[in-house]
Amino acid sequence: MAEAAKSGAAPAPAKAKKKFLYVNRKAPYGTIYALESLEVVLIAAAFEQEVSLAFLDDGVFQLSKGQDTAGIGMKCFAPTYRALGDFGVTKLYVEKEALSERGLTVEDLQQVTYEDENDGFKAKPSIVLIDRAALAKVMAEQDVILSF
């Protein structure tokens, strides 16, 4: 809870920060949940809390690279994940087991990076590969878990 503010947009509130985890378990486009969850994350970034995202089950498909929605006539929101770093959202936990059950490796995902202001604004990867047991531990450390 004592981590430094990441976006620096507004003065830190007096209250202690809470840890918010956004759990993504659904594939994109078939339903709107992935998109509307992302819309919450973008707003959440302004509130100076600790925000991270978890991708498990079909949620890992949200990060697939090369998404092209022209044929289905829907808006492609995949690039928005790459913008999360600019909003101070820098931790995207991706479950290893979910990837392998789906025949995916991290190479099948788009690269998401953020500029580390504590390290000369170097680009660093936002995606953290994590196994199921470790993800369960991350979940257990949260104050608020949001799933849609």
């Binding site: 378990r25 498990l56 089950d57 993800l135 369960a136 979940m139």
Partner: protein, 102 residues
């Protein structure tokens, strides 16, 4: 601080319960609600999922959802506690946070 997990989908139709059980921690409670209550029945093709997990996690089921679906309490896997909506509220306050497996 332990977690209350809610599962509201049928275990025969959806992988929600299975994912919940794979990610729950020792001392957590899983509350079965809505179509999730079918997971509480013994002698089904998915009953084993709960049995394999019962050492570490407590299971509760919402009584109103059982009754709506015509499920007698005698058919529940042993040790599952039946709660009403007030009991659901108590479970929420007794656990540090709630995670919905939608």
């Amino acid at each position: 601080m332990s977690m209350l997990h809610t599962v509201n989908k049928s275990p025969f139709e959806s992988n929600g319960l299975r994912s919940c059980l794979a990610h729950a921690s020792k001392g957590d409670t899983v509350l079965l609600i809505e179509d999730g209550v079918y997971a509480a029945l013994k002698g089904t093709a998915v009953s084993g999922d709960l049995w394999r997990c019962r050492i570490d996690v407590k299971f509760c089921v919402l009584g109103a959802d059982l009754a709506a679906r015509g499920l007698d309490k005698g058919r529940l896997i042993d040790g599952i506690r039946v709660v009403d909506y007030g009991g659901f509220v108590d479970l929420v306050t007794e656990h540090g946070r709630t995670q919905a497996w939608l």
